[in-house]
Symmetry: C2
Subunit: 443 residues, 2 copies
């Protein structure tokens, strides 16, 4: 066995308890926001038929996948690089019997065979929110609001991150108003999507190739970079780009719904948000750190053709994905994660200590199991020492809320119960000890 096999494969992670504490902290915010917003959790296979992924993304995706075939088997499989095809397959399979709207969330692990870099690993966790069966801006906003609720619960504010959103219909109309011919609309969107990756002169050159005049190129450039808080009136944005405000009708519906839900301050209109994926059909959005320092925290939008693509009926759909890697980077940037993830782990309710003597030694294992059976998180020491001071030190290192000391009082059927947060101590009978501990730790 070579030395490298003693390490996690490149781009994957070992989660020691403190690392998993951070991950579970993020997942808890995702899960609670999902449930509070009325989404039901689902999960699918970690690997799928390879065709499921090429159907949506074309053969080009194969090089980005970990694919394999069972020895002697006939089918090609791939580790899932995204969850949407699984979700669409599951909706399609039961489209007739599912209650509408389908509101599902999932927190699957996913895989990409690309070169690992900051914010991008070969295995990661991605929160997925999807609503199927309902059209309209209110639903889009419902979906965006789940993301905001989770971000809020992680301590982020509109000053830290913004939902940058646009709308395919609005973009198409703006492009038309700017003089982009209909047959060049797709090229123009691709160019918008690459806005941040191209040098200004290259961007201008390509804008010209869309058939725009010099003035048209300048206006297209301005539109591509146009952003404005969603709380501001869209007329201001339209005036800046030089198009009639009516072109923004679709975005205005989103704005009204966002206003009603009370999430305007979390949102920014960004005409340059296109989302590369061709299958989006309406609202599109990404969550970005306001400083622009990290990759997108999340991305999604409306994709009404999705379920049909995977063999189901025509069914409107809207959703997003949010990965754990970039989000953890943002939370760290904003000092919203503790230096030591271990402080996020559940604290023991009681640390049970034997002060020595035959009675205590025999009683300790029984008592520990009894308290655990009562639903308490109980730890004890495996050390040989019966030095109560040292063992209380261990209780502190374990972050225990109370210490139960089996000492002299045991002969009378009692133990010492120490509230380690308050520093107080009382002697309490063994009978009813679990309730006495609960009274301290659960207030």
């Amino acid at each position: 066995m070579s030395t490298h096999s003693f390490q996690a494969p490149k781009g994957t992670r070992d989660f020691y308890p403190a690392d998993l504490g951070v991950r579970r902290h993020i997942e808890a915010a995702w899960r609670s926001a999902s449930i509070d917003c009325g989404f039901d959790e689902i999960e699918g296979p970690t690997f799928e038929h390879l065709e499921l992924f090429t159907a949506k993304s074309g053969e080009g995706i194969v090089n980005e996948l970990f694919s394999f075939r069972r020895a002697g088997g006939e089918n090609d499989y791939a580790l899932r690089p995204e969850f949407t095809p699984t979700l669409a397959r599951m909706v399609a399979a039961r489209a007739g019997s599912l209650p509408v709207p389908v509101k599902w969330f999932a927190i699957p692990n996913m895989f990409r065979a690309e070169r690992p870099q900051r914010g991008r690993l070969r295995e990661f966790v991605q929160w997925n929110i999807d609503t199927c069966g309902v059209e309209g801006a209110a639903t889009d906003v419902d979906v965006i609001a789940v993301a905001i609720l989770a971000l809020e619960r992680l301590g982020l504010t509109p000053n830290d991150v913004q939902v940058r959103l646009s709308h395919r219909a609005a973009i198409a109309r703006v492009l038309g108003a700017l003089g982009v011919p209909a047959e060049k609309a797709a090229d123009a969107m691709t160019l918008l999507d690459r806005r941040d990756k191209l040098k200004p002169e290259e961007f201008a050159q390509r804008a010209e190739a869309l058939g725009l005049s010099a003035e048209g190129v300048a206006r297209f450039d301005a539109a591509a970079r146009a952003t404005q808080r969603l709380s501001e009136p869209l007329a201001a944005l339209a005036a800046r780009i030089g198009v009639p405000v009516e072109e923004f009708a679709a975005l205005d519906e989103v704005r009204t719904a966002a206003s009603r839900a009370g999430i305007l301050d979390w949102c920014t209109v960004d005409i340059g948000i296109v989302r590369g994926l061709a299958y989006y059909t309406g609202t599109v959005f990404e969550v970005h750190e306001t400083s622009g320092a990290e990759r997108a925290v999340a991305g999604g939008g409306r994709y009404d053709g999705l379920v049909e693509l995977f063999g189901g009926p025509k069914m409107p759909a809207c959703g997003f994905g949010m990965g754990d890697v970039v989000l953890a980077n943002v939370l760290r940037d904003r000092k919203l994660l503790p230096d030591d993830g271990a402080t996020l782990l559940p604290r023991p309710d009681a640390f049970v200590i034997s002060a020595g003597g035959e009675l205590a030694e025999a009683e300790l294992p029984r008592l520990v199991m009894e308290l655990r059976r009562a639903g308490l998180h109980v730890r004890t020491s495996s050390k040989a020492t019966r030095n109560v001071g040292k063992l209380l030190g261990d209780a502190g290192k374990n972050r225990a809320r109370t210490a139960v000391i089996l000492g002299n009082e045991l002969a009378e059927g009692s133990v010492a119960l120490k509230n380690l947060d308050a520093g107080s101590q009382l002697v309490t009978p063994l009978i009813g000890l679990a309730d006495a501990v609960k009274a301290i730790v659960r207030g």
Copy 2:
């Protein structure tokens, strides 16, 4: 795209909300038992270097694995068929700095490229419990007790399942006392392990090949089938097999520890429990349904050479694995799972209904978001109807605990709040509504 790609790969599962409800119910018992017993959660990569698995189990395991190589990459990887090598690698990598004992649990998904059958799938979830760094029967019992705690929380009793346990040292001594020569001890253990798979005459034939006399074969056969509740004295078992009770010294230590922890009634001595894996070194155990109807629910024991095998220091270790598939079968056999897994899903705290009118329509999205921000699980209808009776029916179908009705009282800043479990109703101001709902749903 062929039709089969619209289905989950053979041997894997789609978890719709009701299915995932069952899985989460089982995982919650695993997780809470682990935490209450002082174990910290870890996780590793879903795939590892292929060598990590062949190091422990030999090249023979390759055919049971899903293995692959990244296009253009050099390393062979495999989807994990078990978690122990990952755990041992992680302990070995930080053996010098980890607090002893290392007490870790994990609930990873795992993969086997075998033919799926009842109780065995190609992807499944397995709870892993491991303690490293401490020797002794008390630690073995600590590990067994976690399993029992989880089984108890799932509603199982000692009448439903039993921990069938043995001890390698005790088996070795019993084999010696029965006349098996030392050089045949390994063969004898293999034969014990196959006890239930061989016909009686074949078993006897192989026992003879161990060099046993006819009488020795009969005694070996009796020993192989010898089981007894752990609560009974070991002397009775020794007498039945015809060996001195001293040969059971190692098992007696486990018995004493189990008695102290109060789990005797969950345990049965079973000399025929060997656990095929060669690396066990002490206590070995399996959890079985008492009827014997299903495969083993869990299996584990002490494997003191484990961490060293993966490049770490010599470090005693003990643990077990418990899969979700057999356990769910056992729970279903015992009527401990609801017919509809959806009843295991979290109930909505409030279902918000608009009785119609401009004010209600505008207020509803704001109020829903406000209640969700207050940490409440809130649902609403996407239907066009404003028939309160019909919408209350939907609230019931959603299993909501309360209904909030935006009606005529809204003009005065109030809403109707219906306790759907109690059938009572009150009018309450919008301000403070979240607290009013909490007062109902949290008692």
